[in-house]
């Protein structure tokens, strides 16, 4: 894709595109209801399933979309190799912050945009300080991040199955979960 490749390397275009993608993202997050502390903590308390519905709907569309783009050479996959030391430990630490702030790194910016002053005055400065803390401690943490690496980068590689078979099965499971939620009134 010569045209897209030119855009990829065009610094100023990427600044504008980043801002535009951000605006659309913030707009959709707010319309989806997930820039609200009540909705996110409601999900973590298993009382309100909006967050799971938004994420699953996004993944259902993006999974097929990304793989079609890659299949026809319009995009490439950007997969990071993982490890238990990085993804399990980091994920659980993230979860503690997720519940205390009641928002995640994207939705905290969105919440601030809708007037949530605890997100603006507490959450966002906390995100900056937390990033700085990790940056400072990074040389010491690095050995843990490589601990117990995964045997493969993606689920199809791990299962030694054709990518499209895995996609069809995972898509069917996600759609099934959403139908189940609707069926039992969640």
């Amino acid at each position: 894709m010569p045209m897209c490749t030119r855009i990829h390397h065009h610094g100023k275009a990427q600044l504008v595109l980043g801002l535009c993608v951000g605006i659309l993202f913030g707009f959709l997050l707010q319309k989806g209801g997930v820039t609200s502390y009540n909705v996110i903590v409601g999900q973590l308390l298993l009382e309100n399933f909006t967050v799971v519905k938004v994420i699953l709907s996004a993944v259902i569309v993006a999974m097929i979309g990304i793989h079609l783009l890659v299949r026809f050479d319009y995009a490439e996959l950007h997969v990071h190799p993982g490890s238990w030391g990085s993804n399990l430990v980091g994920g659980l630490i993230f979860g503690v912050g997720f519940a205390l702030l009641g928002l995640c790194p994207g939705t905290v910016a969105g919440a601030a945009g809708t007037g949530a002053l605890d997100a603006l005055v507490g959450g966002i400065p906390g995100m900056l300080v937390g990033s700085g803390l990790f940056i400072g401690l990074y040389p010491g943490i690095k050995p843990i991040l490589c601990r117990a690496p995964f045997a493969a980068q993606t689920l199809p590689e791990f299962l030694h199955l054709n990518r499209w078979i895995v996609i069809v099965v995972v898509e069917a499971c996600m759609i099934g979960i959403l139908i189940l939620f609707a069926g039992i009134g969640l």
Partner: protein, 175 residues
């Protein structure tokens, strides 16, 4: 169709599908996943660089992980804030508030307590994001959509950690 812009909320399926399309667009025109948390590390890096211009060479993280740059990833942050503001403003939902309803029901209306916990939560959240290499958008949506094992494990742990913490936090508060 136009009316939709003024509605206070959309069906979570519609909003989610829109986010899915946006992730595909990000792959197509930006050649990267849609991930938010690294923007905070970039902002911190730029602040450090303003004080000490040589910090980029001194700190391993900036050389190996996320260099402090003003780029498209960083621009996501002001974008999200503006987009959510526009969406809420169009439906008359801009409410300045210090304490969310659910929090107030369990812990009262003290704004200082809420801001302190939000600040601590933000620190832990960003620390965990960097440790896991992404957040709800980068791992939870963009990564799982690529069937990346690192993202599937991370996203599961975000919710396991979050659900346990939320239950402990709200235990006995009657919420």
């Amino acid at each position: 169709m136009f009316d939709m812009l003024f509605q206070p909320t959309w069906s979570p399926y519609i909003a989610g599908a829109g986010i899915g399309i946006l992730v595909c667009l990000s792959f197509l025109v930006c050649n990267r996943p849609l991930g938010t948390s690294s923007a905070y590390a970039k902002v911190w890096g730029l602040m450090e660089k303003a004080i000490d211009p040589a910090v980029e060479e001194k700190k391993e993280f900036y050389r190996e992980e996320i260099p402090p740059r003003v780029d498209g990833v960083l621009m996501l942050l002001p974008g999200i804030l503006i987009g959510a503001f526009l969406s809420a403003a169009l439906s008359g939902q801009i409410h300045l508030s210090w304490v969310p309803l659910l929090w107030a029901g369990a812990f009262g209306n003290n704004a200082i307590l809420r801001v302190i916990v939000a600040f601590l939560g933000g620190i832990i959240l960003a620390f965990g994001s960097r440790w896991a290499g992404g957040c709800t958008s980068g791992h939870g949506i963009s990564g799982t959509s690529q069937l990346a094992l690192s993202s599937i494990v991370s996203a599961a742990c975000f919710f396991i950690g979050g659900i346990i913490t939320a239950f402990l936090l709200f235990h006995g508060t009657g919420v």
